[in-house]
Every structure is written in structure tokens, then in C-alpha cells.
Symmetry: C2
Subunit: 365 residues, 2 copies
DNA sequence: ATGAAAGCGCTAACAA
DNA sequence: TTGTTAGCGCTTTCAT
């Protein structure tokens, strides 16, 4: 490995000067020497030894990211959002996937502190770190996609009220007067938020809230199926149903079809999340996307601000989504959005502009 | 932060002795002092400063994990497998999600080298690092789930031949004599492997290989749908079809049902991957799982061996899967496996033994 | 504007 | 078995 000494020698200056240039301190260095140093560093392929820098400055440019389970639907996109911001600011992420227990969590925090991480981000973590901020030894931290517990000022979550209103209003605007609801399980705060948004949207539109067409679900496909079966057994079936997530919408659609009815002609259905179920269901599901990537970006930005000395946020940050109109709601603009347009592993999705697309039927390179 | 000095003082010994104990060197230290040191470290909440250790030993206990896109279906499970092994051996992962370009890849490698990573693991990376191993400056490395290119001795991949044979043989054992095939796109090496396995399995069973019932697909739901439409247009429709992945099986099933036929009664269908499509399709899909977690574990184990001085593997490591019998093949043991048994975000999946299950309808804690 | 040198916390070579 | 000490590569204070 080439060190700062090699560069100094090559440029004919002292290591102090090299450090001043390469560590981007704003200490004055003459333009001439600066250029000599930079070019010497480049030709030698110099790259700073972070361990040495970290030892000296007590800053590592590493952020500890602690995740409950990043095989979850949510975590990978959130972490990509985090890294998108963090990498652009010179930080790396030590990502740790921890099991549920409290104990292993504090052990991981200890170990990360040993690595001199500059801060922590907790993704989807269920347990009570928020109450134990002390163990983070003063390092800044934040949460993304908190699922339970009280609101925490340092956390970034979806704007459930706004998002759910978006899709309920879409049905209202289409002229539906009776709209059923399949809710999430009660212990998730998002269940309550979404249900409230549904009720408020109806009320705001002058429509009555009818408890008998609000069915409890549990986020799952079969949960949606069962809830829909119950709705179909009602004396008067609502012509439109909002499911609190896409999986339940998927189950509900199947229940409707199994009963010999059509979606959206007989009953319109909408979901929430914009996950794969929404894209490949038949019909494809009108929904609202979960802004996971953006949530990660914002959480990272918040942390960066704290690292630059700003105060931590005093309120939760809520991120808004957008409506995605497909077939299941029956509205005209969604008719063309077929499942057959969807390819999950499309290597061309997210491809940076200007890059040649990958032809799935051609050998690469 | 407490340092080795504080511990030495508290235990009444020199820092060298503390280091000998706490760094787990096998240098002889009397049992008595050893215990005093350990207890002092514990009461002081001491945790080694990795930057200092790393600077001194040139080992960081950090592995650089470079991923093409870890929002993919494959990456998260692989990385969990990596971490499962790595964490148990005291290593952390610096996970970096890089865009497609060659240039950003070598920059990331540079930066990771600056962090003194002890090794590299490339997950799903498409570009040609394997040809540029030089830039890793001699650090050990390995690949997981290579998608293209020539075989690389340091890579861990699914045993495509074994796995595909597993599911084809299941159909053969059920008595099917004519079995169609929907293949993956030609540029993936797994497409060729799976197709070969299908042909070999038929031949081994004394069945003819009929090119007219082998249709090209492209991994996607609509690709499977279209391929199946073509099969259904044949003068003689095979009573069973193997799709090279679950998404295409999902599309094929829908095509069959749209044609007014039943799965599995009229046509049996099997897939490959055991992804969500296999679990929620109607009927649920008989398939073979992709051993992603295990692949991660094995790759990590291989790297660990190299770090301990063993030679790198001289052949690709191929990991075997297991057959998962569900409804779509019509075999009796799969009949009870309903989509309604499936909950994607089941917080109780993978829960360590002895841990209380999470009740989705109860508030946590 | 530049250089000399101290020292971050640790490990390991050498001394006792 | 234990202690003393050099030095890993870097940043930063103090001199010049």
C-alpha cells in the first residue's frame, strides 16, 4: 500500500503538506504544490488509510446500519436510499442484520462503537433502542420505518394519512358512494393511520362511515381473502373496497372472482404498497407506492445534518407517495396497465441514463 | 471511550498484558491476572478500538461486500447468509450497492481497500472483476451467484443441474411421458444448465426430447404466459410443463386457465426458485428452492478459509436445493399446501427457537 | 506557505 | 510471566 510518505517523497514536500491537500482541509497550500501532490497521489494510486485517519480524528466515516431483517420487503430499498446519500458524502455503511433479542442488539451496538462508527441508523427495528439512546454513547442516530411504539422525533416514516387518502379519494372521485375497507392488524401504527385516513376521506366527501363494511385483516393474502368473503356475505355488498395493503387486495380480488364476480366491473379494489402482487394480479392493482427509497435518503440526510452539528429533528419526518392507477379500480387511465408489462428482474430498471440497455436475449459484453 | 490504558490501570498491570488477554493471543498469562483484566474490562465497559488495532495489524475484520443491486430477489438472502457466518467469526460487512459501470466498481474497491478490508465478496456482479483481480491488491475474494461469464473457481452458484433434475424427475415419477419446457433467456448460464438437466432427465428415463414442446421464455410472468400460449396452440398439448422459474410458471398457469383448462388436472406445471409467485399462485406451485442463504454461508466460509491461509477453491462450489411439492403438479402430497397458508411478512418465520412468537393481533412488548 | 514532531490506541518485539 | 517501548499512517499544533 502506498502511504502519505510515498506521495510526499514523489512530490518533494513534507507529509504535513500532503495531508493538508489530501484531507481537504482548508489550510492554505500554494496552487503549485497542491497540483504536484494531487498528481503524485494519482500516479501512485494512493488511497488514504482510514484506520490511521480514524485513529487520529476519531471519525470513521462509517455509519452503523442496524436492520431487523433485510430479507424483508421493505429493508433493501430503504438501505439503498441510505447508501445513495451516504456514499455521495464519503460514508460507508456497516450493515448488520440482527435477530430479535434485545441482548444481541446492544452487543452489536458495542461492536459498532468499537469500529468508531460516526452514527447509527435503525431500520425497522422493533425493540426499544429509542429508550436506550444512552448506549449509543452520544453518537447521532435515527430510525427509518418504525413499525410500533410511540412516535420518535428521529424517525422517518411514510405519510400514511396522505397516502391512504390519495387512493381513497381516487375511488370517491370516480363516483363511488359506498366503499368498504380491509384493515391491517391493530398493533401496527400504520393500520390505525390508514383506517383514520379512510374515515376522514369519506367524511370530508360527505359520505357516511359504515362500520359494517370495515373488516379486520392482517396484511396477508389469506387475510384479505377471508375479509372479502365476509364482505361478500353482507346483505348489501359495497361496489368498491380499499385494502390496507396490496397482499390483502390480492386476496380480496381472488375471493371476488371465486364468488363469480368481476373486478373492477362488479367490485372495484385498490391496495397500498405497490409491491409485486399489485403488478402481477389479474387485474393489476391500483395502489399507492411506499416511498422506501426516499425514506432512506431522508434518514441519511437527517443524520448527515446531525454529523455537521445541526440539532436532531424535533418531529417525525413523514414521506409522501404517489398514486399508481392500474386496472383494479376501473378508471379509464389504468386500463392499459397490464401484468404483461411487468418484469421483476428487469436489468434495465434504474439503469443510469446514458448506459446501454441490457438485451435479455443477447450475451453481455 | 475507555482504552486499554484504563483497563491496565484498573487491573494493576501493564498495557501489554491487557492486550495479550483481550486480543485473545495465546501468549501465556497467569490465570489470576487474566481474570482481573477481564473483570476490569467488563466493569469499565471496554471495547477495543478497531482503528488502532487495524492500523497496527493491518487487519480490519471487515469484509467488503459488493452487490450489483440488493433490491433484487436474490441479494438480501445471500447477504444474510454471508453475515451469518462472518459475524459469528468476528467480521463485519461493509456492504456497497454499486451501479453497473466498471469505473465506479474500481473506485469502490479502492475505497474499501482504504478501509483495510480483509477480503471481498462480489454478489451478482455482472462486470468483469474476475479478470481484474489484480486491483484487489492480493486480498482474498469470492463470487456468489454469478450470472454470466465463464465459470470462476472462486464462485458459489446453485447446482442448477441437480436442482432442475429434482423437479423434472418428480413429474417423470408421477408418470408423465410428455413434458414441455419453458426456458430462460440464452445469455444466462443457468438457462442452459437447466435446459440440459431437463433433456438429460428425460433421456435417462427413456423419454424422447421433443424440441417442439420446448419454448423460449425470458424469466418474466408475461414471458411464461406467451410461451404457454404457444404450447397450447400445438396440435398435441403436453400434459405437463416445466417452467425454468416460478414467474414463468405463474404466467403459464394463467395462460392455461385463460384457455379454459385446469391446473393440474388438465396440465401440470412446475417452477423453480420458490419465490412468492410460487406461494400465492392458484394453484400453489411445485418448485425447487434457490439455496441463496446457503450460498452466502458457503461463500463466507470459503473466504474465511482463505483468510486463515488456506488456498482458494479450485472449482466452483455448487449448492443443492430441495424439492417443494405443492398443488400445481397434482401429486397427492402437495394438495394441502394452500396459498392461504402463506404470509409473506410473517414475523415468526426464522424466529430463533425458544423465542416467543409475535402475535400479529397483539401489541408488542 | 511549509516543515518537524507529537501522539491517537493498539500489538509485538525485546528485555527482564 | 510481565513490562517497556517502537511504530502502524495519519492529522494537527507549533515553529519557521
Amino acid at each position: 500500500m502506498t502511504t502519505i510518505r510515498d506521495v510526499a517523497e514523489a512530490a518533494g514536500v513534507s507529509i504535513a503538506t500532503v495531508s493538508r491537500v489530501l484531507s481537504k482541509s482548508n489550510y492554505p497550500v500554494s496552487q503549485d504544490t497542491r497540483e504536484r501532490i494531487i498528481s503524485a497521489a494519482k500516479t501512485l494510486g494512493y488511497s488514504v488509510n482510514r484506520a490511521a485517519r480514524s485513529l487520529r480524528t476519531d471519525r470513521s466515516y462509517i455509519i452503523g446500519v442496524i436492520v431487523e431483517n433485510f430479507s424483508s420487503y421493505f429493508a433493501p430499498a430503504i438501505i439503498r436510499g441510505l447508501q445513495d446519500v451516504l456514499h455521495h458524502n464519503g460514508y460507508f455503511c456497516l450493515v448488520v442484520d440482527i435477530p430479535w433479542e434485545e441482548k444481541s442488539q446492544s452487543k452489536v451496538v458495542q461492536d459498532l462503537l468499537g469500529h468508531s462508527v460516526d452514527g447509527f441508523i435503525f431500520v425497522e427495528t422493533w425493540s426499544s433502542v429509542n429508550e436506550n439512546a444512552g448506549m449509543l454513547s452520544g453518537k447521532p442516530y435515527g430510525f427509518v420505518h418504525r413499525l410500533f411504539h410511540e412516535p420518535h422525533p428521529n424517525s422517518v416514516i411514510p405519510d400514511e394519512l396522505y397516502n391512504q387518502t390519495l387512493v381513497v379519494n381516487h375511488l370517491i372521485n370516480m363516483g363511488y358512494k359506498r366503499i368498504g375497507y380491509i384493515s391491517g392488524p391493530p398493533n401496527f401504527f400504520s393500520s390505525a393511520d390508514r383506517l383514520n385516513a379512510y374515515c376522514d376521506a369519506l367524511t370530508a366527501a360527505g359520505l357516511p362511515v359504515d362500520d359494517s363494511i370495515i373488516m379486520p385483516g392482517n396484511w396477508s393474502v389469506p387475510g384479505g381473502y377471508k375479509a372479502m368473503v365476509d364482505i361478500l356475505a353482507l346483505p348489501s355488498i359495497p361496489p368498491a373496497v380499499v385494502a390496507a395493503n396490496d397482499q390483502m387486495a390480492f386476496g380480496a380480488i381472488r375471493a371476488i372472482q371465486d364468488a363469480g364476480l368481476r373486478v373492477p366491473e362488479d367490485i372495484a379494489v385498490v391496495g397500498y404498497d405497490d409491491d409485486e402482487f399489485a403488478k402481477v394480479a389479474n387485474p393489476t392493482i391500483t395502489t399507492v407506492n411506499l416511498p422506501l427509497f426516499e425514506m432512506g435518503q431522508v434518514a441519511a440526510t437527517n443524520l448527515l445534518k446531525q454529523l455537521h452539528g445541526e440539532a436532531a429533528p424535533t418531529e417525525e419526518t413523514r414521506i409522501r407517495s404517489r398514486l399508481i392507477v392500474r386496472q383494479s379500480c376501473g378508471s379509464p387511465e389504468g386500463r392499459h396497465v397490464l401484468a404483461s408489462d411487468y418484469m421483476r428482474h428487469d436489468p434495465n430498471a434504474d439503469r443510469p441514463a446514458g448506459k446501454p440497455p441490457v438485451d435479455l436475449n443477447e450475451a453481455p459484453e
